[in-house]
């Protein structure tokens, strides 16, 4: 079974603009999350 995008992204940690690490999966663990990948800022 190919992984869903959500499964692939969930374990990744990225810093926010203030330097805090955010595990992506935590954003949609308990409710849906809209994730927008910007082409540029």
């Amino acid at each position: 079974m190919p992984q869903s995008f959500a499964e692939s992204l969930a374990p990744m940690e990225l810093p926010d603009a203030d330097g805090r690490a955010v595990r992506l999966g935590s954003l949609w663990e308990s409710r849906p999350a809209v994730m927008v990948f910007l082409r540029h800022y």
């Binding site: 869903s4 995008f5 959500a6 499964e7 692939s8 992204l9 969930a10 990744m12 990225l14 810093p15 926010d16 603009a17 203030d18 330097g19 955010v22 992506l24 999966g25 954003l27 949609w28 663990e29 308990s30 409710r31 849906p32 999350a33 809209v34 994730m35 927008v36 990948f37 910007l38 082409r39 540029h40 800022y41």
Partner: protein, 125 residues
């Protein structure tokens, strides 16, 4: 999207953006664009690759749909900020749900090919 932030909040969804560049760049953009939701930084494009996002090439700039998208954005009052170090990286929009469910996925095929807010809201029951 930030103009519709309250609609997403009413639906009880989290909202986050992911960009390239570094923290200084991201903070400048956050202040400039007045966004309150989390802005994450994927400097090495690891998440972009995992999400299957594409890169454009120089010929995409010449496409008529690019010119139309630029006109639309300009008419809506949007302006282009700094391009950053990966100007050909394309974006995308997703809605994910509990249990790592893909509820909606839109991978941009060229510049200006963006999912509408209505599409994103429609993916949330």
């Amino acid at each position: 999207m930030r103009a519709k932030e309250s609609e997403f909040q009413r639906k009880g969804v989290n909202l986050a953006a992911i960009g390239l560049g570094d923290a200084t760049y991201a903070r400048m953009f956050r202040e400039d664009a007045h966004i309150d939701f989390p802005l994450l930084i994927d400097e090495n494009r690891v998440a972009y690759r995992a999400a299957g996002l594409r890169s454009a090439n120089i010929f995409h700039l010449l496409r008529s749909d690019n010119a139309e998208a630029r006109k639309r954005a300009s008419a809506a009052g949007h302006r282009q900020h700094k391009l950053g170090k990966n100007p050909f990286q394309l974006g995308g929009s997703f809605v994910f749900g509990p249990g790592n469910a893909d509820l909606f996925a839109h991978v941009s095929r060229t510049f200006g090919d963006n999912a509408s807010v209505e599409d994103l809201l429609g993916a949330i029951k």
